[in-house]
Structure formats: C-alpha cells, structure tokens
C-alpha cells in the first residue's frame, strides 16, 4: 500500500500538476487528504487555481505557419549575405 500522507512540498507539486489535469485518482486522494488538514496548502491551491483562470482568460496569439515561414525566409536571406 502506497503512502497516503504527503509533505507540503509534494502537495504543492500535486496542486500544480492538478492544474494541467495530470493527477491519477490515487494522487488526487492524497492531495485531498493533505488539504483536509493543511491550511497553507489549501490556500496555495486556491491561488494556483486563480492563476490558471487568469492565464486561460488571456488570448494567447501565436504566429501562423505561413508567418513563421515568411520570417524564416527573410532571416535565411539575411544570413546568406
């Protein structure tokens, strides 16, 4: 049987991984168990969720493939000179 009680360091990493949906059911259980008695980690988890919501609310714009190609072409031409 695996360890159920985890340290605050481990709990905070689990909190981060949870924001990316990377936890197994067992890890989720461990995290919940830890949050049940640790106010500090519960508060960190709340902050982390707020941060994720903020990140997701921002529209991140990327260069399209054609834009990248055009820039690469310019750069390659300049490198040949």
């Amino acid at each position: 049987m695996g360890r159920f009680f985890i340290s605050c360091d481990e709990a905070s990493i689990l909190s981060t991984r949870d924001q990316y949906n990377d936890l197994s059911p067992k890890e989720k259980f461990r995290q919940k168990l830890h949050h049940g008695h640790c106010l500090g980690c519960r508060s960190f988890d709340k902050k982390s969720r707020l941060f994720s919501r903020t990140m997701n609310s921002l529209g991140w714009i990327k260069l399209s493939k054609s834009q990248k190609k055009a820039i690469k072409q310019k750069l390659q031409e300049a490198m040949k000179k």
Binding site: S12, I13, T16, R17, Q19, Y20, D22, K47, S48, F51, T54, M55, S57, L58, G59, W60, I61, K62, L63, Q67, K68, A70, I71, K72, K74, L75, A78, M79
Partner: protein, 187 residues
C-alpha cells in the same frame, strides 16, 4: 554563467511565438507585430558580433524588440502629428449635439473596460515571463500556452517528468508573486 552562443537558425521556432505575443499586446496590429518580430531577428543578426554572451538569447532579443516597439511608436506619432487635420467641432453649425458624448468613448461600458484590463494584464504577465530564467520560461510556455504534452517537452529538454513538474511549479510560483506585485496590488 556559461557563455551563451547565438543560434539564429532556431530563433523563429524558439522565440517567434513569445515575441509575437509580447508585441501584439503592445501594438494591437497583427501585421505590424509580425514586421516588428521579423525586424528584431534581422537586427539581432546584424548586431550578433556585439553580443557578449552575458545574457540569454531571449533576453537579448527582447531588449532589441522593446527598442523596435518604442521606435515604432515614435515614428507613428510623428507621422500622425504631420498628417493631423485640425477640425473645430463648433465651427460646423449643423451639429448641435453634445460633443463630449459623441466624441469620447464610454469607458463605463464593461466591454471596453474589460478589454483594456485584459490587455494590461497580458502585458504584465508577458513582463513577468520575461523575468523568468530562460529554461523555466521556455518550459512553462510550452506546457501552459502551447499545450504540448509532457513527454514531448521532456524529450526536447532531456529531463524527467518530475523535473519538468518541479520547473513548472517554480515558474508558476515566481509568476504568481510577480503578478501579485505588478498587477493585483495595483488593482
């Protein structure tokens, strides 16, 4: 710190998206942002001999880009000043409306306010990401913004999954602190 060497062949793939996002949040024009990013890379290439290797490639390129953005605003402001047509609202007898109401955007409109707030938040976050160590910033952006899977990032950086999560965790903590001081305390 080990001396950093420039690898211009990889600039577009490594920093293109980040620099583009950084620019577009400041100039609000996709074509102009693309031009500025492309000019930044060309300027970087031109002044590569002056790069001393004391900062990272990304920090160096961002400093060039910031100067390009300032130049862009200087140019557009001077053009605007030259081409400005001065009109007096009161000279036109047909218009009797309240010029204040007609001319000024209604900032109480929540959509406008939200848009401005989001833009400012984007700028603050970009500045915070720029302040992260390069490795942290790259991995954080790949995982959070590019949404790459863990395995791909681990392979690219030759790290284990647990290393990756520690890096992302540290990056997030630094960003939260940075945003807290730059943004949430102001609000």
């Amino acid at each position: 710190m080990p001396e950093v060497k420039l690898i211009p062949e990889k600039w577009v793939d490594r920093y293109g998206d980040y620099l583009f996002n950084f620019t577009i949040s400041r100039v609000n024009d996709s074509i102009m942002a693309q031009d500025l990013v492309s000019e930044t890379f060309l300027a970087g290439l031109k002044s590569a001999h002056r790069f001393k290797g004391q900062s990272t490639e990304r920090t160096w390129l961002i400093s060039i880009l910031k100067r390009k953005i300032i130049d862009h605003y200087r140019k557009s402001n001077s053009k605007k000043g030259q081409a400005e047509v001065r009109m007096s609202y009161l000279d036109n007898g047909d218009q009797n409306g309240d010029w204040m109401e007609e001319q000024v955007r209604d900032l109480r409109n929540p959509n406008v306010e939200d848009e401005i707030e989001q833009k400012e938040l984007g700028i603050a976050l970009n500045d915070c990401i720029a302040g992260l160590p390069e490795r942290y910033a790259t991995i954080f952006v790949q995982k959070t913004i590019d949404k790459l899977d863990t395995e791909t990032i681990c392979k690219e950086h030759d790290i284990t999954a647990s290393n990756l999560w520690v890096i992302i965790h540290r990056a997030r903590v630094q960003l939260m602190d940075c945003l807290n001081s730059k943004w949430f305390k102001k609000a």
